[in-house]
Amino acid sequence: MKPATFRYRRPETLDQALAELGEHGSGASVLAGGQSLVPLMNQRRARPAVLVDITRLPGLGQVTDAPGRLRVGALVTQAAFERAPGLAGRCPIALECLPFTGHLATRNRGTVGGSIAHADPRAELPLALLVLGGAAEVASAGGRRTIAAEDLFTGPYESALRPDEILVATAWPTTDELPGQAFEEVAQRHGDYTIASAAVALRVEDGVVAAARVGVGAVGDRPLLVPEPGAVLAGRVVDEDAAEAAGRAAADAIEHPLADIHGSAAYRRHLAGVLVARTARRAWERAVA
């Protein structure tokens, strides 16, 4: 478990980093916390010719509170995000999913940007960002662009980032828009391989659901936003019946659930429905509290 030979670059500025990526293209990999990439390299399942270490880049380590948004710099560690002041009020879904993200030791080094860019279909942060309707801010030598979370995750460990781009920040919509938020997952072992996860964010007006976004993780090749349960919840009080109906709608909407040694397709479909129902209830209770 030793990596293949690679060249190591540690640029001091974003422009230098982008120049490295521009030069080496898909032969380069960006290193931040290294909690996914380095094990893959040690197993030689990833063999970048050049490793561009962005941990010295200035300005990527802050959580900035903007109206309706938390802007999370790419180098903010998962542990730091978890401790960000006011996270419980501003972005409870993130606070709820972070304890499931690896283990304390990996969260101390693993970054929010890294988890999003890695695009693991089982990971928590991509699902949370997707359900909130967040976005990634990416830079290349040619300029900056914003990719909506809905367009960001394109397949297992595949994202819409181009090889010459660096994810510099993620934007997390706060409770202003969708105040009722909840996340839940089932894993064989806490912090590892998710079997299924669900996240719900919703807004209540006039005593009924005015808008709801529902997502499920670890059941497909990427985190999935499923519109059907949101449609079920719209205009309703989320009581047990409504939550279960939303869960069923979510389960039915999953086309080809993943199946592996940790959970059959039938189990994953069922579990996704259960977790959607639970998170819908909790999100409702928070919205009306």
């Binding site: 478990m1 293949a4 197993q43 064989q188 072992r189 912090g191 040694i261 940790h262 959970g263």
Partner: protein
């Protein structure tokens, strides 16, 4: 002795000052090895070309499987086999991860680069992954098919009111020690000998196996173990195969070779438990008396029958009837080869696999007879007045009070209240269940039990094998410093602490005065063929050997003191680092002065007393003969007892199992150090919980390994393992010097089946829910 002393080992370990294999540089200039491993479960190696690898700067050389076959013999096996096992495959690879070649280079990075540059052409062959299919037809993959009968099982079944028939499958699982295996091998071309520093754990029977493979006289294979080893739980027994492989690489390339197993190598090929399928029939009378047992066992040992296998299958043979009085039993044991990695020692070693069907069938019978499982057990437990008890298959349970332990467990569990809680929860629609297990925990294995794999007439042709012995030495230097040397290869158990306690008591000093050396060197340590850390043998023969050696030194000290103090040796008391005359407080001499005189003034020694204060002693378990002509075997020198009671809840929506309460009561004889005993129980329990709830080494139907890293293999962590509430009832062993019985494996044997019984009870299932009780599998069984 008997005090809950803090472990002496922990200070250095917690400060990072332990000395593990990879911390040592015993052969300066050693080059680094990486192993090319088969990606196929079964394939012919048509061509293996290392030309490009040899061109890489920094590569010292390559040893191929073909060269291994030329330069060594197959490992001796316990029974005849047509599938010889070498340290690497020459022409056919039989499991994913099997070594095909070794690259040696200036560092591990270059060595792994060179692995990529070796061109191998494979011709895929048919893959056998179904043990039952292999067992169904004679052939090279059905290694052994033996039938045993004790008493009159047919008559027992003829008079039964109830026969329980079930099939139980125990998954292949492993123990994944924190430190993987490692070898530094140095071939000495001067005298054609091999010295290997390795975190091998014994049994040292395997030293003989390795020497035979290398065609070396035993004295020319020198194994040296490091002071610390980061856990083993059985699995580092098999590092002997790597000793042979790296020894051959060192011999060919003329340099010392260092190989440190990485986690992927370990999980693929480092050794795991057997997986066992048992069809059980259990005959009961209407009142619950267990009348007879029939077991049809298929043991999958992986791709080769590699020593010490099929020991997993025969370790429990003296305890086939478990804790019960049943006398009539029939067993069919088949050993099969599949395209999985070869198996090895793994904590519990046959016990978990055996008690799954036995205690599983008891739980089914209790339900069908309308009895509480505790009442059914009580009806069948061997009575306290029946010890020493000889089992139908020949095992000897020397002491015990099984009903007393059951009473303790029921009281600790508050069984009546727990049962009411379960019933109330069920009335609310919750899935709550109670499970139990009663297991006899063998310790101190008879080196001869594995010979049962051969029929008696074949056994008679070979040298008989029996017993289990350990050696230790105690020396006092001229300054009064005391050194204990052991050959039990501890890997974290705390042997040094207990050895110091034992020796200190005998020599009249404090444990802190004793320096314990745990490195084994086969050139100089007092070792035996059965030395090592396995079969929970330390507290019996390991500590026993220290006791005997210390007693010899103490006897000499008494002679020396008697001469100085003008009394008889038997009147000398060793206490407070002094030798005193009993009943005469004024007559004493300090230990330091006494030993100083013995070392510096040998001329003053009493007549007939040899110089030196150094004793080597060996301690053998009593009553461990070879199997007899009727296949009776005293498989283990001692047998402890464990009763577990557990309450679980299954979450209906997700299938997740939560342990609400777990009680484990042990009879391990005399507890030498209760703190260490608690650690052993918790550790054995954690390993059992892992097997019960989540762990399984998975292969695809094509033989692909589906659990190659600890991400896929869900090793139980502290977050997954509750803390059991424990009790001890001590019935001292009459057979071991200190009255102790082993206790390192009991809860590994009991927890899987106790948890399975509890989950089965929670679901109200007619047939037991299979292991592991993972959420997905449990959910599928929810009614």
């Amino acid at each position: 002795m008997g005090r809950a002393l803090e472990r002496f080992e922990d200070d250095a370990l917690l400060r990072g000052a332990g000395r593990f294999l990879d911390d040592l540089d015993p052969a300066p200039g050693a080059h680094h090895a990486a192993v090319l491993r088969s990606p196929h479960a079964h394939a012919r190696v048509v061509r293996l070309d290392a030309t490009r690898a040899l061109e890489i700067p920094g590569v010292t050389g390559v040893l191929t499987g073909a060269e291994v076959a030329e330069g060594s013999r197959p490992f001796p096996a316990a029974c005849p086999t047509e599938v010889p096992c070498y340290a690497a495959a020459a022409d056919v690879a039989r499991y994913v991860g099997e070594p095909l070649a070794v690259v040696v280079a200036r560092d591990r990075y270059v060595a792994e680069d060179a692995l990529d540059a070796i061109a191998v052409e494979f011709e895929p062959l048919d893959v056998r992954m179904d043990p039952r299919a292999v067992a169904a037809e004679p052939g090279p993959s059905l290694v052994s098919d033996r039938r045993f009968s004790y008493g009159d099982p047919d008559a027992a079944f003829a008079r039964a009111d109830l026969v329980v028939r079930e099939t139980f499958a125990f998954p292949r699982w492993t123990c994944a020690p924190m430190e993987c295996a490692g070898v530094v091998a140095r071939w000495d071309h001067g005298d054609d000998s091999l010295t290997a520093w390795t975190n091998f754990q014994g049994p040292f029977t395997l030293h003989s196996v390795a020497a035979a493979a290398l065609r070396l006289p035993g004295a020319r294979l020198r194994l040296i173990t490091p002071p610390d080893s980061g856990g083993s739980f059985g699995v580092k027994a098999v590092v002997y195969a790597a000793v042979v492989l790296m020894g051959l690489a060192s011999r060919k390339l003329g340099v010392p070779v260092r190989w440190i197993e990485d986690r992927r190598e370990h999980l693929a090929a480092g050794g795991a438990s057997t997986q066992r399928t048992t069809d059980i029939e259990a005959a009961f009378a209407a009142d619950g008396e267990l009348l007879g047992l029939r077991l049809d066992v298929i043991e999958d040992v992986g791709a080769y029958i590699r020593a010490p296998e099929p020991a997993t299958l025969y370790r429990m043979h003296g305890a086939l009837s478990g804790a019960y009085r049943v006398r009539d039993l029939a067993v069919r044991n088949r050993v099969v080869l599949t395209n999985r990695a070869p198996t090895t020692l793994n904590r519990g070693f046959g016990g978990p696999q055996h008690y799954l069907p036995i205690e599983g069938a008891m739980a089914v019978a209790a339900r069908r007879l309308g009895l509480d499982p505790a009442d059914l057990a009580r009806r069948n437990l061997i009575g306290a007045d029946q010890f020493p008890y000889t089992t139908p298959s020949g095992g000897i349970y020397a002491s015990g009070d099984y009903e007393g332990c059951l009473d303790d467990a029921l009281a600790l569990f508050d069984h009546g209240r727990r049962t009411a809680e379960r019933d109330a929860a069920r009335a609310d629609g919750r899935l709550v269940g109670i499970g139990m297990a009663c297991v006899v925990e063998p310790s101190i294995s008879n080196m001869g039990y594995v010979t049962l794999v051969e029929p008696a007439e074949d056994r008679a042709k070979a040298l008989p094998k029996s017993g289990n012995a350990e050696g230790a030495s105690v020396a006092i230097n001229p300054n009064g410093g005391i050194t204990v040397r052991m050959s039990t290869t501890p890997q974290g158990q705390g042997h040094a602490t207990v050895a110091a306690q034992v020796a200190a008591d005998v020599l009249g000093v404090t444990p802190q005065d004793i320096h314990v050396v745990t490195e084994v060197d086969t050139a100089s340590s007092p070792w035996t063929v059965s030395s090592g850390a396995y079969s929970s043998r330390f507290s019996g023969v390991g500590a026993g050997a220290v006791l005997r050696a210390a007693e010899r030194v103490a006897a000499k000290l008494r002679v020396l003191a008697a001469a100085q103090l003008h009394c008889e040796p038997e009147d000398v008391v060793l206490a407070d680092a002094r030798a005193e005359v009993a009943h005469d407080p004024d007559a004493s001499v300090s230990l330091r002065r006494l030993v100083g005189a013995a070392h510096w003034n040998p001329d003053g020694l009493p007549d007939g007393v040899e110089p030196g204060l150094h004793a080597v002693a060996f301690c053998a378990a009593e009553q461990l003969p070879p199997p007899d002509g009727e296949d009776h075997i005293v498989a283990s020198g001692e047998n402890g007892f464990v009763v577990d009671l557990v309450m679980v809840e299954v979450e209906r929506a997700t299938g997740r199992v939560t342990v609400l309460d777990y009680v484990s009561v042990h009879d391990a004889g005399r507890l030498l150090n209760p703190r260490l005993a608690a650690g052993q129980v918790q550790g054995g329990f954690a390993h059992g919980v892992g097997a019960a709830l989540q762990e399984r080494i998975e292969y695809g139907p094509d033989g692909a390994l589906l659990t190659p890293t600890l991400k896929e293999y869900p090793l139980a962590t502290p977050l997954d393992v509750p803390t059991p509430r424990t009790g001890h009832r001590e019935t001292p062993s009459p057979l071991t010097p200190l009255g102790a019985k082993g206790l390192g494996e009991g809860t590994t044997m009991s927890a899987p089946v106790a948890l399975q019984n509890a989950v089965t009870d929670a679901l109200g299932a007619e047939h037991p829910v299979g292991l592991p009780l993972s959420p997905s599998r449990v959910w599928e069984r929810i009614p």
